[in-house]
């Protein structure tokens, strides 16, 4: 595992930001199908602001992550702003001091982050939300023999895929009732990108 510091977290979130920017139209199109056509714009606005943060200005990974969380909360709005903001806030609070970090520490932090999202959104797995990518990711991370981030990324992606046939129970897509089935969830799609970015930068 890459040792923990503000630069590691910044690399992670910048990789995520780049993926979101490249896929803004895709995320918005998914949201057009079952939501209000703004998830790409929302996430891109927020992650552009996060990517502009300079990790050199922060004492440690925890402070940097907290700032990234607050940046999302104050720039994104909508459902994804508080949810991704809470994810990073809880992650920050659970992070150990800078330095070498083992998989157990990441496991604890990741679980705390995902629990935070579930509490904030009151969503259960199967509700067709970002939780359907995040929860399997956290579980796969814990169960992996080796390469836990890689396992988490694959699980997040599978979780995202699995949202397609679901009927949404939370978020804007829930207004569609049965008509929400047949489209992947936009938030699960961006969440899978977040975990994939972690695999590419934190392993």
């Amino acid at each position: 595992m890459r040792p923990l510091d503000a630069f590691a977290v910044a690399d992670w979130l910048r990789a995520f930001a780049a993926d979101v920017a490249a896929n803004e139209a895709l995320l918005t199109d998914l949201d057009r199908q079952i939501g209000d056509a703004d998830h790409g714009a929302n996430m891109n606005r927020g992650m552009r602001a996060v990517a502009a943060l300079d990790p050199a200005e922060f004492p440690d990974a925890r402070a940097f992550t907290k700032k990234a969380a607050m940046t999302l909360v104050s720039t994104v709005g909508g459902a994804s702003g508080p949810l991704y903001g809470t994810l990073l806030l809880r992650l920050a609070a659970a992070l150990p001091p800078d330095g070498p970090i083992d998989r157990d520490a990441w496991s604890v932090a990741l679980r705390a982050a995902v629990d935070g999202v579930r509490q904030r959104g009151r969503a259960e797995p199967g509700d067709k939300t970002m939780v359907d990518a995040l929860q399997p990711a956290s579980e796969a991370f814990d169960a992996a023999q080796d390469d836990p981030w890689g396992a988490a990324a694959r699980a997040a992606d599978a979780g995202r895929e699995a949202t397609t046939p679901l009927v949404a129970h939370k978020g804007r897509a829930s207004y569609l009732g049965e008509r929400s089935a047949g489209h992947a969830d936009p938030g699960a799609t961006s969440a899978a990108m977040l975990i994939r970015a972690a695999a590419g930068t934190l392993s």
């Binding site: 056509a37 703004d38 909360v73 994104v76 909508g78 459902a79 129970h169 804007r172 829930s174 207004y175």
Partner: protein, 332 residues
């Protein structure tokens, strides 16, 4: 996409410059936080009434800031709820020490952002109560889902809570009244055309030349059902039936809102209201106050919605109380 704008990213801030220029005695604008504030806020001894949401629904909410209605409105990006720090800035701007009521439309994003703001305000010692509107009967209500969307009743809640606060009632009383109004309101809408979110650049959905979408939301969220366009009297029935099936509106004075989605002319809205009014009258429902016009809109979408609110004498008195905002104005 053909719009009277400078740049999709500047739509909201440009409009805020305009609303500030157009209503100098009524409101002021905190451009950094995108908050529209009543000109004389904070008003000593008065509960602050704060709402907000995504932009694109004007006059809701910024057009309802002023004496007798909202103390502040937080303006999110188009169709995107505002952030907690915007809402906290609004709370600060109107806080007179008598507590603050948040009026929140029931969308996951709005609910969570206002919730976070209320936690932050609470941590500073500001007392915040919240009322969530959830009147759209097009959406199935259930404990296991996000519940119903907040639409037209929000205007009525803002008017009644604003009037009660103006009369000096305390936070508990204002909140109780707002909740009573919210509980007694039901709405249903339809669209003839989609709107185009400026940042998205293309219509949110497509409808054929002879198709309408029933049960539409105010963010271009798809509705529940499509059907062919039909005469106004039939469509009035399609909107009213689910509303009347959901709540008994007999035996109480009713406030009715025949609301345009932004792109439907008044000529058509009055025609729709005629059909609705006749159906309501023959169902024994007594409409004592009404609004016909574009009040809770969805950019340039063509279509309309109906909102009925079960009222009582106190609510009617507060409805009639003076209000002086860009979008609703009467009395002194």
């Amino acid at each position: 996409m053909k719009k009277l704008i400078n740049d999709p990213d500047r739509v909201v801030s440009d409009a805020l410059r305009g609303i500030e220029a157009a209503h100098p005695g009524t409101l002021r604008v905190d451009h950094g936080n995108r908050v529209v504030v009543r000109a004389d806020a904070p008003v000593t001894g008065k509960v602050g009434v704060v709402s907000g949401g995504g932009s694109g629904h004007e006059p809701l909410h910024s057009g309802f800031v002023g004496r007798g209605m909202l103390d502040a409105a937080c303006c999110g990006e188009v169709f995107t709820s505002p952030t907690p720090d915007q809402i906290l800035a609004a709370d600060h701007a109107v806080d007179a020490g008598s507590g603050i009521l948040h009026i929140v439309k029931n969308y996951t994003g709005d609910v969570m952002n206002f919730e976070m703001a209320a936690e932050l305000a609470g941590a500073e010692g500001i007392e915040v109560a919240s009322v969530v509107t959830a009147d759209d009967v097009a959406v199935a209500d259930s404990l296991f889902t996000a519940g119903r969307r907040g639409v037209g009743v929000t205007l009525v809640v803002e008017k009644i809570a604003g009037a009660a606060a103006e009369q000096g009632r305390d936070l508990t009383a204002v909140t109780e009244l707002a909740r009573r109004v919210a509980d007694g309101g039901r709405s249903m809408g339809l669209a003839l055309t989609s709107c185009t979110v400026p940042a998205a650049g293309k219509p949110t959905f497509d409808l054929a030349d002879d198709e309408i979408e029933l049960g539409i939301g105010i963010h271009g969220e798809p509705g529940r059902e499509r059907q062919r366009i039909a005469p106004a009297h039939e469509l009035a029935g399609r909107l009213l039936e689910p509303v009347l099936a959901d709540l008994d509106f007999t035996g109480a004075p009713v406030i009715a809102l025949c609301n345009g989605m932004g792109g439907t002319p008044l000529l058509e809205l009055y025609g729709m209201y005629a059909e609705m009014f006749e159906r309501l009258t023959s169902a024994g429902i007594r409409v004592v106050r009404s609004l016909v016009g574009n009040y809770v809109t969805s950019l340039e979408m063509a279509g309309c919605s109906i909102t009925l609110v079960r009222a009582d004498d106190e609510i009617i008195r507060l409805w009639d109380a003076p209000v002086n905002t860009p979008g609703l104005r009467w009395g002194r």
